[in-house]
């Protein structure tokens, strides 16, 4: 919205009121999860099942949070049209029967995304109910977040050799993983630059890679932007999902180092090309329907 547009100042005023109220709701989400910890431990004896339901709780809270954001006009989001189908394999395994067979399924997917703002991890969790995230090690030291991270059975990246080995086991047992290959939030205005851990994982396990390009129209909530510097136009997130990359096509007679660097270059190029192309926010209501349908749970397997 431009300053000249009718209603601009009204919109600004609304932002000043709602933004300081909205983002702290994240804390409320954490509090709810914290309360669920003792309940989950009392009711669900099996750790795997507990993790599963805990992740499902995060998924639903994240969905609620995003729907609320749209309702309150804090930000808006959409999937780029026609790409929701790539999410289907990652939306399964929400029921008990899926749980018991999850280990027998083929490899999990490796979901790779750029990380322009703090909340895109929540957007991804709102779309996929059973992801294991790789977290920065200092987050697991946090007294509250650390407790939640342990209950969600996420991995911490303090020692690369250890987390790579753990992540490899997870992928091979059918779990899907979310990795931000930049290792931190994207620096605004700079092309994405990936660390090699993510591609090493793909090389070792040959797991399918699902690229998730997050288009974000602002610097708001990036690493250098404090929360009170409110954006001047409507915040929008647009997700380009897939297509899935199969690393089985990696050159077989190259050394691991060559394979890693080649795959990393390809992935980096893929993300950079897509991010360099600005994506207009559609004006028609029908264009926004896709992600709304996904979040409303109309897709197969997606309960509630």
């Amino acid at each position: 919205m431009e300053p000249a547009a009718p209603g601009y100042w009204l919109w600004r005023l609304w932002q000043a009121v709602i933004v300081p109220l909205f983002y702290p709701l994240f804390g409320l989400g954490c509090a709810i999860l914290l309360l669920l910890v003792p309940v989950a431990h009392a009711v669900l004896r099996e750790p795997k099942k507990r993790t599963r339901y805990f992740r499902l709780a995060v998924h639903h809270i994240a969905r609620l949070w995003f729907n609320l954001a749209r309702l309150l006009r804090v930000f808006d989001y959409r999937l780029v049209n026609g790409q929701a189908e790539h999410l289907l394999p990652l939306q399964a395994a929400t029921t008990d029967s899926d749980l018991s067979t999850a280990g027998e399924n083929a490899h999990g997917h490796l979901v790779l995304a750029n990380h322009p703002a703090l909340i895109d991890v929540l957007m991804i969790l709102a779309l996929m109910p059973n992801l294991c995230c790789i977290m920065k090690s200092d987050l697991s030291q946090h007294p509250i977040l650390g407790l939640l991270i342990r209950n969600l059975n996420y991995l911490s990246n303090d020692n690369p050799e250890i987390w790579l080995a753990q992540a490899q086991l997870r992928l091979e047992s059918g779990e899907s993983l979310l990795v931000f290959p930049e290792g931190t939030r994207t620096k605004p205005g700079q092309p994405v630059s990936f660390k090699l851990g993510a591609v090493e994982l793909a090389r070792r396990t040959r797991a399918k890679v699902l690229p998730l390009v997050v288009h974000y129209n602002s610097h708001y909530l990036s690493k250098s932007c404090p929360w009170y510097e409110l954006p001047h136009s409507k915040l929008t997130y647009q997700l380009e999902v897939g297509p899935t990359i199969n690393p089985r096509t990696l050159a077989v007679n190259s050394t691991p180092r060559q394979a890693r660097r080649w795959l990393n270059q390809e992935l980096q190029r893929y993300f950079r090309e897509r991010l360099a192309r600005p994506l207009a926010w559609p004006t028609g209501a029908a264009d926004v329907a896709d992600i709304r349908r996904v979040l409303a749970g109309n897709l197969q397997h997606l309960g509630g």
């Binding site: 690369p160 790579l164 660390k195 090699l196 090493e200 050394t255 691991p256 180092r257 060559q258």
Partner: protein, 80 residues
């Protein structure tokens, strides 16, 4: 005995040339893995895994953090 003559140093040099495409001329006990030889942190893990296989020694991953030069790697293997 100098570092260059040790079996570990020879094995490591061969490994770096064959698996990591390092120019043999740039390998010396003083060469810095990360600055002179363009080894990244994942390469270093790879290298450690290969050295474990080659020497049969259990080399702890944590000690990799203090390693900078080829000489450091040789010392790490010999200390274990």
């Amino acid at each position: 005995m100098t570092i260059e003559n040790s079996a570990i140093y020879q094995q490591l040099s061969t490994l770096l040339v064959q698996e990591f495409e390092i120019d043999p001329a740039s390998i010396s006990p003083q060469s810095n893995l990360f600055e002179d030889l363009d080894i990244d942190s994942i390469d270093a893990i790879d290298m450690l895994t290969r050295l474990r296989d080659l020497t049969g020694k259990d080399l702890p991953a944590d000690e990799l953090k203090s390693v900078r030069t080829i000489g450091d790697v040789v010392a790490l293997v010999e200390a274990n």
